[in-house]
């Protein structure tokens, strides 16, 4: 797949429901790819601390919820981007082995490894002659 260019395009969550916390909520940019063994999700979550991140797999819905602490450093003089929380959900069609999910947050990037359950892995079927 061709590489994507760098753009500034924070997508605000279009949600009919309101969040209890005031302020903008964004859909983080993600890459998702699949190998034979696992599904990998990588999300850009700048400004998110480990304790403010919540990843949840319920049935087949994976939800990422992240709170960004505003760190006011004086008065805003000029603004090109908004700071807000992140929220995004995905419906995972593969059968995931929930006990083996691994997540890592580093330098504003979240990586989630969702290993497929044994039953979901491709199996070569031998054809007898």
């Amino acid at each position: 797949m061709a590489e994507k260019e760098l753009t500034v395009d924070k997508k605000e969550v279009q949600n009919p429901q309101e969040f209890t916390r005031e302020g903008p909520v964004f859909n983080p940019d993600v890459d998702i790819y699949e190998t034979d063994e696992a599904l990998k999700l990588i999300a850009d979550l700048p400004g998110v601390q480990k304790e403010d991140l919540d990843i949840d797999l319920n049935e087949n819905t994976l939800t990422i919820n992240a709170h960004v602490k505003q760190s006011p450093q004086g008065n805003l003089l000029y603004k090109e981007y908004d700071v807000g929380d992140y929220k995004r959900s995905f419906t995972i069609s593969n059968v995931i082995d929930q006990s083996k999910i691994q997540a890592e947050l580093k330098n504003g990037i979240l990586q989630v490894l969702l290993p497929k359950a044994e039953t979901a892995k491709p199996r070569k079927i031998e054809i007898r002659t």
Binding site: M1, E3, K4, E5, L6, T7, V8, D9, K10, E12, P24, D29, V30, D31, I32, Y33, E34, T35, D36, L39, K40, I42, D44, L45, P46, G47, V48, Q49, P72, Q73, G74, N75, L76, L77, Y78, K79, E80, Y81, D82, V83, N107, G108, I109
Partner: protein
């Protein structure tokens, strides 16, 4: 080479067209941007209340992301100030500090860098690819002269913060009132 000139409202002043952004995209995919934050000429600029109100009006009218959304400028910058410093912040998740180059020359700040995405195995099937990568470069004119010797930069949680101490002449000065 495509050249786009865009006039935008800036946070420090409510006059439209006070900031000028030129972006040019070269065939190699480099993004170059030149942004000037001009010193506001209007005296009303000093009144933060009016400034905030105008920001709010503009945000409501254009949507809060209007100033950079869809443009080729990267990264988006926010500028904050307190009595002694100017802070420039940018969201750069996953950018290695070794791939960043920050220069200050007089009242001009240059940020140049590259965002590399780690290579994946060959036989992966992408479901989505939304995260961008490549080179970027931005130049902004600061609204005050700064002490270039003491400029500091920090990368934390994927957010770059550049701290630029104001030059002595730009610091607010308390004026003592003599009583007769």
């Amino acid at each position: 080479m495509k050249q786009k000139i865009k006039y935008q409202q800036i946070g420090s002043c409510f006059l439209i067209g006070n900031q000028e952004t030129r972006t040019s995209r070269q065939s190699g995919g480099d993004i170059m941007a030149y942004t000037a934050i001009l010193q506001p000429t209007n005296r009303l600029y000093q009144y933060g209340l009016l400034q905030n109100e105008m920001n709010r009006l503009f945000d409501n009218f254009f949507g809060s992301q209007s100033r950079t959304r869809g443009s080729n400028v990267f990264p988006a910058l926010n500028v904050y100030q307190d009595a002694d410093n100017l802070f420039v912040t940018a969201e750069l998740p996953g950018v290695d500090v070794n791939d960043l180059e920050i220069n200050v020359e007089g009242d001009t700040l240059h940020i140049k860098g590259q965002r590399k995405l780690p290579e994946t195995d060959k036989d992966v099937r992408y479901h989505r690819q939304e995260r961008g990568s490549g080179q970027f470069s931005r130049t902004i004119h600061l609204p005050f002269p700064v002490n270039t010797e003491k400029v500091g930069a920090e990368m934390k949680l994927g957010i770059l913060t550049i701290t630029l101490p104001k030059a002595d002449e730009a610091k607010p000065r308390k004026i003592n009132i003599k009583t007769a």
